[in-house]
């Protein structure tokens, strides 16, 4: 039971930030596309801005790995 709960916690740890990242990137993406239509030279900056919310899912992944390692150990 405890292992199942830990697994569920790991899934939540990565799932919720993934949703948050998707939401943020969904807002930034169209804005970046609109910017690039007017200033194509900002493409690299746009890509970086789109990548910034990925921090959430990456840290979520780290937490999920830590939870799973705890479950395994």
């Amino acid at each position: 039971m405890e292992i199942a709960l830990l697994g569920f916690a790991a899934a939540l740890a990565i799932g919720l930030p993934a949703l948050a990242t998707a939401w943020a990137q969904g807002r930034i993406g169209p804005a970046a596309a609109a910017t690039l239509a007017e200033k194509p030279e900002l493409s690299t900056t746009a890509v970086i801005l789109i990548a910034i919310p990925e921090t959430m899912v990456i840290l979520g992944f780290v937490v999920a790995v830590l939870i799973l390692l705890r479950a395994g150990g």
């Binding site: 690299t44 900056t45 890509v47 970086i48 990548a51 910034i52 990925e54 921090t55 990456i58 840290l59 992944f61 780290v62 790995v65 830590l66 390692l69």
Partner: protein, 620 residues
């Protein structure tokens, strides 16, 4: 690093202004800046008129070069015309001739594409046009409907039959392009109504082909075919004339463009010069080591009447100086990464050398695979072969080579070759990141701590150089707190003697108080943000582990698919996808760690680029 600049003043008699600007342009070291002198004088009308003439002539020259399809020649020597009006007239004449030829080519190509369309249209009806001949007093309407408009044909037929009852015949056929060719034959009495109905339905007739007066389809088709046969010859003849014109005038036009562009650059510089009735004053910036060159050149070419003097640093602020970056050849290609952001302000720190060290290191640490490193090295080598020296592509290839070397080195360290295939080629891991997840996380965060600490050091140095002593001390205290926190954590986990824990915590509290006293309450927020930045380096571990797991899954496909061949193909495809992700994701995140976390500590953007007055060069 940022090149040290100095401000100079050049003064001399007004009669020598043009020559002085020409000498400065030849030397190409002075970034001309407006002197801090109130200049209420109206712009020189003669100069303005000259400038307008030059711009008009340049417009003719560039239009002619464009119409003659002559690319910009970077090596073309400046062609100084003996007589400016004569050169302008000749340029205008060549431009007109080139435009006439370009228009003729364009008209012939348009005609050809229209006739090709007609040919297909008429061929579609060749078997059916007997109808038109049986209705000699009638009129034919040729309509092409867009692709997918097949249903509109039925609607058009219904409307025509309702309105005209047997006085109209509609034939249709789908063309190879998906469009619908529609031929409407109407009696002379019904023709005006058909025309009105087509207008009301917003259906446009195909325009009659230029030069083909024949309306009867059967008779028009041979004429179209004959004209289509003639057009290539006409095009060839026009092209021969264009090439002949390019041959005779091309070199002269290219040289004249260089001369006129140079002249425009001097006119631009002149707007930043103080010129009174009898004297002129030019002020500007140049790299410190080039001062002797400037003084010698001025002395030898213009004599003692033109005086070059330096302006003391106390008379100008660092923010006003332009910025030029100069890094050792090994680091220079990495300027391509720092130049994505605005230039740093003068007097601050150029981050390029640090990017050159840490960017490939982070990239290698994330990918850490000999196989991926070799593939990347191959791509980088290819890019290097295909690129010209001193271009962005060449810089990118060098950065990619550095990243591939780092990836291979870390691949050997991790014992990875396309994931878990390392042992198969004799690689033994010194650090197995598949199993040592927590140590890898610790390594990533520790690396983040070092990187951010370096950022704080640079922030302190930069603030000190700009005379912001309080800020410099504040950054040093923040750095001290960071080190004390790391030491206290080591003491808490008994890596260091546990007895050190309490004194270290007390020292942190003292440092915190000093920091708040120096920087105010904002220091607390900055401190928390610094800790957040360090934790952000955990992405190195996260991305590295994800990349490794994808490679392991790819390798397991070989045995999991039933057939070894199918499994191997799937594994290869999966590795390819992983490699593509492995190129994109680590690049973005390594850049982000630099731009957001590292640069955030010390980088002051907003420097103006050093643009010395020099000769014009076409963009590569």
């Amino acid at each position: 690093m940022i090149v040290r600049m100095m401000r100079v003043r050049i003064a001399g008699p007004r009669s020598l202004l043009d020559r002085t600007l020409t000498v400065l342009q030849d030397l190409g070291v002075l970034h001309v800046d407006r002197p801090p002198v109130p200049d209420g004088r109206a712009p020189d009308r003669i100069v303005m008129r000259e400038r307008r003439h030059v711009e008009r002539c340049l417009s003719d020259v560039e239009m002619a070069l464009n119409r003659l399809r002559l690319p910009a020649d970077p090596g073309a020597p400046a062609e100084r015309p003996l007589s400016a009006p004569q050169a302008a007239r000749r340029a205008r004449r060549v431009r007109r001739r080139a435009e006439t030829l370009a228009l003729a080519t364009s008209a012939l190509e348009d005609e050809r594409s229209l006739l090709v369309r007609y040919r297909e249209f008429f061929q579609a009806f060749e078997a059916l046009v007997g109808h038109e001949l049986t209705w000699p007093d009638g009129q034919a309407f040729y309509v092409v409907l867009r692709a997918g408009a097949g249903s509109a044909v039925g609607e058009l037929r219904r409307r025509l039959e309702d309105a005209l009852h047997g006085e109209v015949v509609l034939l249709h056929q789908e063309l190879s392009s998906g469009e619908w060719a529609v031929l409407i034959l109407a009696s002379s009495r019904a023709a005006p109504k058909v025309s009105a109905l087509l207008s009301a339905s917003r259906v446009e007739e195909l325009p009659a082909p230029a030069g083909i007066a024949e309306k009867n389809v059967l008779r028009a088709l041979p004429a179209i075919k004959a004209r289509l046969g003639e057009i290539p010859e006409s095009l060839h003849a026009v092209d021969a004339q264009r090439r002949a014109l390019a041959q005779t005038e091309g070199a002269w036009l290219s040289g004249l463009r260089v001369f006129l562009r140079d002249q425009l650059l001097r006119f631009d510089a002149r707007t930043r010069v103080f010129a009174a009735d009898y004297l002129f004053v030019i002020e500007g910036w140049l790299p410190v080591p080039r001062l002797v060159d400037l003084q010698q050149r001025m002395q030898t070419t213009l004599g003692p009447e033109v005086v070059v003097s330096t302006i003391g640093a106390e008379d100008w602020t660092a923010e006003a100086a332009p910025v030029a970056l100069h890094n050792p050849p090994l680091f220079r290609p990495f300027e391509v990464l720092t130049r994505i952001l605005p230039l740093p302000k003068y007097g601050t720190i150029d981050p390029t050398p640090f990017v050159a060290i840490f960017f490939p290191a982070f990239f290698g640490l994330i990918v850490g695979d000999v196989g991926h490193g070799l593939l990347l090295a191959g791509l980088a080598g290819l890019l290097r072969l295909k690129s010209e020296p001193d271009t962005t592509l060449r810089s990118v290839s060098t950065v990619a080579l550095a990243c591939s070397s780092s990836t291979i080195a870390f691949g050997v360290f991790f014992g990875e070759f396309f994931g878990s295939l390392g042992p198969a080629i004799g690689l033994q891991p010194f650090f197995n990141r598949e199993q040592a997840t927590i140590p890898f996380l610790g390594l990533s965060v520790a690396l983040g701590g070092v990187h951010i600490a370096l950022g704080l050091v640079l922030a302190g140095v930069s603030a000190w150089r700009r005379g912001h002593r309080r800020e410099a001390v504040g950054r040093s205290v923040a750095l001290g707190m960071l080190i004390l926190t790391a030491l206290s954590l080591l003491a808490a986990f008994e890596v260091l003697p546990a007895g050190l824990f309490t004194p270290l915590v007390v020292a942190i509290l003292v440092a915190f108080t000093v920091l708040v006293a120096l920087e105010g309450i904002v220091a607390v927020i900055e401190l928390l943000s610094t800790v957040g930045h360090i934790l952000s380096y955990a992405r190195i571990m996260a991305l590295g582990t994800a990349s490794l797991m994808l490679a392991v899954v790819a390798n397991e496909m070989v045995g999991a698919m039933g057939s070894v061949l199918v499994g191997a193909i799937f594994a290869l495809l999966f590795h390819l996808v992983n490699f593509a992700i492995g190129l994109f994701s680590p690049t973005i995140h390594a850049l982000r760690l630099h731009y957001v976390e590292f640069f955030g500590q010390f980088f002051s953007p907003g420097g103006a680029e050093y643009r010395p007055l020099g000769h014009w060069h076409p963009l590569p």
